[in-house]
C-alpha cells in the first residue's frame, strides 16, 4: 500500500508547500499595500515631514519674505545692514524666479496654473520691479518719503499677489483632498480584488490538488492492477481477467496490452494443454493398442499351437473314423438283407388280411337281409293288431246294441263277448310277436355292428401291413444310399487327413511370424513409454499455468 500512497502523498506535499508559500506572499502583499497606502502609516509620516518643512520654511513662491525685507529696509539706517538686506532680497528674487520656472514646466494650463504662473507672477514681477527700480534707489538715496510712497504701491502689488496665492492654495488643497479620496478608493478596490484573486487561487489549487489526487489514485490503481496481473502471470496464473478500459491514456493502453498478452498467453497455454492431453491420450492409446496387440500376438501364438495340436488330433481321429466307417458299411449291408426278408413276409400277411375282409363283408350283407325280413314281420304284426282292434270295437258296439235290445239281444251279447275275447287274445299274441321281432332286430343290429367293427379292424390291419412294408422298402433304399455316402465320406476323410498335415506345417510358419511380431511390438511399447514420459513432463510444466474455468 505504500506504493499507492507514494504518488498522492508527494502531490499533497507539493500542494501544501505551495499553499503555505502563496499565503505568505499574499499576506506580505497585503501588509505592504496597507502600509504604503494614502493616510497609511508611511504616507502619514511623509506628509508630516512635508508639512513640517512647509510650516518651518518661508514659502519661496510666496513673496511675504521679500515684502518683510522691504519693510525692514524702510526702517533701517545702517549702511551695512541695508546692503545685506538688499542682497538677501536679490537672493529671494532669484529663488522665486527659479521656482516659477519649475512650476511653469510642471503645472497644467488650468485655473490654478494661471493663478500660479500668470496672476501671482505678474503681481510679484511688478513688486520686484518697483523694489529694484524705485524703492532701493530711494533707500540708497535716503529719501524716506519716496520710499514710503513706493512701499505703499508695493504693498498693493503684494496684496494682489497674496490674493492669487490664497486662491492657489485653496485650489491645491481641494485637489489634494480629491486625490486622496481617489487613491483611497483605488487601494481598497485593488485590495478586495487581491483578496478575491487569492481566494480564487486557493480554490483553484484545491481543485487541482483534488484532480491530481484522483488522477494519481486512478493511475496508481491501474498500475497496481497491472503489476498484480503481471505478478500472477509470472506465477503462472493466467485465469485473471484484465478489466477492459476505454481510456486511451498510457495506463489504459498498458492495461489493454497486458489483457491481450494474458489472453494470448492463455489461449496458447490452453492449446498446448489440449495438445498435451491429446498427445497423452494418443500415447496411452498407443501403449494400450500395442499391449493389446502383444497379448493378441501371444494369444495368436498360443492359438496357433493349439490349432497345430488340434490338427494333429484331427488327422488321428479321421484315421479312426475311416476304420469305423468301414465297420458301419458292413453292418448296413446286413440291415438291408434283413429288411428285404421282412418285406417278403409282409406280403403274405397282406393277402390273408384281404380274404378276412371279404368274409366280413359277406356276413354283413346277410345280416342286412335278416333285418329287412324282420321289418316285414313287423308290418304284418301291425296289420294283425289293427284287425284285432277293429274286431274289439265291433264287439263293443255289438254288445251295446245287444244291451239296448234287451231280452232279444242276450244271445247276441254272448257272441259279442266271445268275439271281443278272441280279439283280445289276438292282440296279446301280436304283442308277443312284436316283442320277439324287436329282440331279433336288436340282436341282428348288434351282430352287424360287431361285423362292421371286425371289418374295420381288418382294414386297418391291412393299412398297417402296407405301411410297414413301405417302411421296410424305405429302410432298404436308404441303407443302399448310405453305403454310397459312406464311400464319399471315406474319400473326404482321406483328403482331410492330408489337409490337416498341410495346415500343421502352415501353423508352424505362422508361429515364427507371431514371435517376430511380438518382439517388434515390445520395442514399439518401449518407444510409446518414453513418449508418454515426455508428455507427462510437458503436462506437469503446463499444469503450473492456471487457466481458470
Amino acid at each position: 500500500m505504500s506504493n499507492k500512497s507514494n504518488l498522492a502523498t508527494k502531490l499533497s506535499y507539493f500542494v501544501a508547500v505551495f499553499l503555505v508559500l502563496f499565503s505568505i506572499f499574499a499576506l506580505l502583499a497585503w501588509r505592504t499595500l496597507q502600509q504604503v497606502r494614502v493616510q497609511g502609516p508611511l504616507y502619514d509620516e511623509i506628509m508630516l515631514g512635508n508639512e513640517l518643512i512647509a510650516d518651518v520654511l518661508p514659502p519661496p513662491q510666496f513673496i511675504i519674505e521679500p515684502y518683510l525685507l522691504t519693510l525692514q529696509l524702510s526702517e533701517q539706517t545702517g549702511a551695512t545692514e541695508i546692503t545685506r538686506l538688499i542682497e538677501k532680497g536679490n537672493e529671494l528674487r532669484i529663488n522665486y524666479e527659479n521656482g516659477q520656472e519649475k512650476w511653469k514646466r510642471v503645472l497644467a494650463r488650468d485655473t490654478m496654473g494661471d493663478l500660479m504662473t500668470v496672476t501671482s507672477y505678474r503681481a510679484a514681477m511688478e513688486f520686484f520691479r518697483l523694489r529694484d527700480d524705485e524703492f532701493i534707489p530711494a533707500i540708497r538715496a535716503g529719501d524716506r518719503d519716496l520710499a514710503k510712497r513706493v512701499l505703499v504701491q508695493m504693498g498693493q502689488r503684494y496684496e494682489a499677489h497674496r490674493y492669487a496665492i490664497d486662491e492657489v492654495w485653496k485650489l491645491a488643497a481641494q485637489r489634494n483632498v480629491a486625490n486622496e479620496a481617489k487613491a483611497d478608493t483605488l487601494v481598497s478596490s485593488k485590495l478586495s480584488a487581491l483578496a478575491l484573486l487569492a481566494l480564487a487561487i486557493i480554490f483553484l489549487v484545491f481543485v487541482m490538488a483534488w484532480f491530481a489526487r484522483r488522477a494519481a489514485a486512478t493511475l496508481s490503481l491501474r498500475v497496481q492492477l497491472v503489476s498484480e496481473v503481471a505478478d500472477r502471470v509470472a506465477h503462472g496464473d493466467l485465469s485473471t481477467e484484465v478489466p477492459s478500459t476505454t481510456d486511451s491514456d498510457e495506463t489504459g493502453r498498458l492495461l489493454g496490452s497486458i489483457g491481450r498478452m494474458t489472453h494470448n498467453l492463455r489461449s496458447l497455454v490452453t492449446r498446448v494443454k489440449q495438445a498435451s492431453v491429446e498427445l497423452m491420450s494418443t500415447a496411452t492409446e498407443f501403449a494400450a493398442t500395442s499391449r493389446q496387440q502383444e497379448s493378441t500376438v501371444q494369444g495368436f501364438g498360443a492359438s496357433t499351437n493349439q490349432i497345430a495340436a488340434a490338427v494333429k488330433q484331427i488327422a488321428a481321429t479321421s484315421q479312426e473314423l475311416l476304420a469305423t466307417m468301414e465297420g458301419i458299411n458292413a453292418v448296413s449291408a446286413q440291415t438291408a438283407d434283413l429288411a428285404e426278408q421282412g418285406q417278403s413276409g409282409l406280403s403274405n400277411l397282406d393277402s390273408t388280411m384281404d380274404r378276412l375282409a371279404q368274409t366280413a363283408n359277406a356276413m354283413s350283407a346277410r345280416l342286412a337281409a335278416i333285418r329287412e325280413e324282420a321289418a316285414e314281420i313287423t308290418g304284418v304284426v301291425t296289420t294283425i293288431s289293427k284287425v284285432a282292434d277293429q274286431t274289439n270295437l265291433l264287439s263293443i258296439n255289438a254288445a251295446i246294441e245287444a244291451e239296448k235290445a234287451g231280452e232279444q239281444g242276450l244271445g247276441f251279447l254272448v257272441l259279442a263277448r266271445e268275439i271281443r275275447r278272441l280279439a283280445d287274445q289276438t292282440a296279446v299274441a301280436t304283442l308277443d310277436i312284436e316283442q320277439m321281432v324287436k329282440q331279433m332286430q336288436s340282436a341282428v343290429s348288434a351282430g352287424v355292428m360287431e361285423i362292421d367293427r371286425f371289418a374295420e379292424e381288418v382294414r386297418s390291419g391291412v393299412g398297417t401291413v402296407e405301411r410297414v412294408g413301405g417302411q421296410f422298402g424305405q429302410i432298404i433304399s436308404e441303407v443302399r444310399t448310405l453305403s454310397e455316402r459312406f464311400d464319399t465320406v471315406n474319400h473326404g476323410m482321406r483328403s482331410q487327413s492330408h489337409g490337416a498335415r498341410q495346415i500343421g506345417e502352415a501353423m508352424g510358419q505362422l508361429l515364427d511370424g507371431a514371435r517376430q511380431t511380438s518382439v517388434s511390438l515390445r520395442e514399439f511399447n518401449g518407444a510409446t513409454e518414453s513418449l508418454r514420459d515426455a508428455v507427462t513432463v510437458l503436462k506437469q510444466e503446463i499444469a503450473k499455468f492456471n487457466l481458470g474455468s
Binding site: S385, D389, N392, L393, I396, I400, E403, K404, R420
Partner: protein
Amino acid sequence: MLALAFRAGNADLAIAARSIVEVLPRVALRTPTLAPAAVIGLLPYRGTLMPVVDLCMLVEGRPAALELGTRIIVVRIHYAGDSRLVGLQAEDVSELIELGPTTPGLRSSEHAWLGDHLTQAAGLPQLVDPAELLPEALTKLFLAKAET
C-alpha cells in the same frame, strides 16, 4: 246290465251301455274355429255335424294319447227339451264291464257328473251320467247351434 269302462287322464270312469249310441274309432277331426279348448272338432255323423269333446282335456287339461285304445263314445245329451249327439273322446275304450252295485264316493258339487263307484269292477271306476257330464256352457253352445 253292462257299462263301458274308459279312462280320462288318471280317472277310471264308466258309462252305462244303454246311454251310448255307438263307439267310433279315433279319426282325424276338423278343428273348430274359436271354440273352447275341450272341443277338439266336428265329426260328420248320421247326416249332422257332431261336436267331439276330449274328456282328457276336460279332466286333466291335456289332449288324449294317440293310441288305438283312444276312441270316440257317441252319446245323446238333452237340454231344455232339445237333444243332440255329442262325441266324447276317451282313452282305453276297449272293455265292457258288468254294471254291478254302486257305492257313493266323494261327491263334489262342482263336479256333479262324477257319480258312484262300481265296487265289483277292477280300479273302482266312477259311473258317469252323460247328461250331466258336460259343463253348462258347452251344453248351451252345442244346443244353441242346433236351434239355429
